[in-house]
């Protein structure tokens, strides 16, 4: 194609050149800038909304956590860790049982006392509950004392479960020799996994009531103190005066 031909073509299509170029540029801008940005606008907007919602959730969670009374939680943990320790703590379990046995006796006389004849810790014998060990007690004493002991086990400062009861009564009396395998529970799980999305745990009224009940198991009733020295003259506080 020579120059003259080009000039002819140019003259012929001269008038459509500007509209074509401007439409082309417009389409390019539309396709490469506006449409992708409109598409990304909605996805980005959704992302921002999601992020704001998450932040709001976290902020409300922070408010909730900040409202938790840390002292109460620590005290509650102490109580539950005493009742259900993380390790076996066999000595404390035995000590607590001995205290309960002494408390169960109906009378101070030897005939009314419940006596711990034998206590066996069997390592191979697991309790019926997963995290537990078994202590087999052999007790001798009046039936009423045994009943008291079984009742007191429910409010013991450790978690005990009576596995079975096997009793032999002495002829002509209500004195009994009983074998009592007891499961002592513990819970080695002292960790909790928390994720941001989890709701803040709350202690309900039932759980608070339960904590109070457990607390009463731990705090021993104050023994009645009889003051025999009240009327005794104490003299001067400073003897050299």
């Amino acid at each position: 194609m020579d120059k003259d031909n080009l000039k002819i073509v140019y003259r012929r299509f001269n008038f459509v050149l500007l509209p074509v170029i401007s439409v082309l540029i417009s389409l390019i801008i539309l396709g490469l800038v506006i449409v992708p940005q409109i598409i990304s606008y909605f996805s980005l907007n959704a992302r921002i909304k999601d992020q704001i919602a998450q932040t709001d959730d976290l902020n409300s969670k922070i408010t909730e956590i900040e409202s938790i009374n840390n002292e109460d939680t620590k005290k509650g943990l102490e109580i539950t860790l005493t009742i259900l320790p993380t390790d076996k703590d066999i000595p404390s379990a035995i000590l607590s049982l001995q205290t309960l046995i002494a408390k169960s006796s109906v009378a101070a006389t030897s005939s009314g006392q419940l006596v711990l004849k034998d206590i066996i810790y069997n390592n191979s014998k697991k309790g019926s509950v997963q995290n537990s060990f078994q202590l087999s007690l052999t007790l001798v004493g009046p039936l009423q004392s045994l009943k008291n002991f079984i009742t007191y086990l429910q409010s013991a400062p450790r978690l005990y479960q009576v596995e079975s009861i096997s009793a032999q009564f002495q002829k002509g009396s209500r004195t009994v020799e009983v074998e009592l395998p007891i499961s002592v529970l513990y819970d080695p799980n002292a960790k909790a996994s928390i994720s941001f999305s989890d709701p803040v745990p709350k202690l309900g009224a039932k759980e608070a009531e339960m904590l109070n009940k457990l607390n009463s198991f731990i705090v021993p009733a104050q023994p009645e103190v009889y003051s025999s020295t009240a009327s005794v003259p104490t003299g001067k506080s400073d003897p050299f005066e």
Binding site: F15, L18, P19, S22, V23, S26, I29, V33, I34, Q37, I38, S40, Y41, I48, Q51, I52, Q54, T55, L58, I68, N70, T73, K74, L77, T80, L81, I83, L84, S128, L143, K147, I150, T151, Q154, L159, Q161, V162, S164, I165, S166, A167, Q168, F169, K171, G172, L185, N189, A190, K191, A192, I194, F196, V200, P201, K202, L203, E207, M210, L211, L214
Partner: protein, 188 residues
């Protein structure tokens, strides 16, 4: 050239130009119109592109701000996590204790009930197994006592609605006029 306007009546136009010029003029009119429309279109597109860019920048700022706020909240909550963990552990332990507390209640209840109801008799031996089933061996001189015990054990009001089945076995009267018998008590 003077044009006498009064001579032409209203609504009349007399075209004295040659036809080619008229066609050329119409053509150039069209071209100008097309050019103007295309440029206007381009300008509109450019304005839209600028607007979308501003929107994008604004959105990016918003996103950055919300991300910063989220990170701040996350950091704050990380600091409070031990508090939350303590509460969760407490809650878990309480639920474990609650579920374990009443596990042996039935065994104890059966033992207490039967030993109370048979207070007028001599209990020889007694076993409560893991399923809370009780086997008890008793002896008494009075048949009325046996009847009363069986009545009490089978009465809903007296047995605290605790017992579902009683098996009486091995009932015998010895030379010493004492009844001896065994009971197997199955709780509900």
């Amino acid at each position: 050239m003077t044009v006498v306007k009064q001579a032409v009546p209203r609504g009349f136009l007399i075209n004295l130009l040659p036809e080619e010029i008229l066609i050329q003029r119409r053509h150039s009119y069209k071209i100008v119109l097309i050019n103007r429309v295309s440029i206007a279109f381009l300008v509109v597109i450019l304005i839209a592109a600028a607007f979308s860019l501003v929107l994008k920048i604004n959105q990016a700022n918003n996103l950055k701000r919300s991300e910063e706020e989220y990170t701040t909240a996350k950091d704050k909550i990380m600091g409070l996590q031990s508090k939350e963990a303590d509460l969760l552990i407490l809650k878990n332990r309480l639920s474990t204790i609650q579920s374990s507390l009443g596990a042996d209640t039935k065994r104890k209840a059966v033992f207490n009930l039967v030993t109370s109801l048979s207070s007028g008799m001599q209990i020889n031996d007694l076993t409560v197994d893991k399923n809370s089933n009780m086997t008890i061996s008793l002896s008494t001189a009075s048949a009325v006592e046996i009847e009363k015990l069986l009545f009490d054990l089978s009465s809903k009001e007296r047995n605290s609605d605790l017992i579902s089945k009683i098996d009486l076995g091995g009932l015998s009267l010895g030379k010493d006029n004492i009844f001896r018998f065994n009971l197997k008590i199955i709780p509900k």
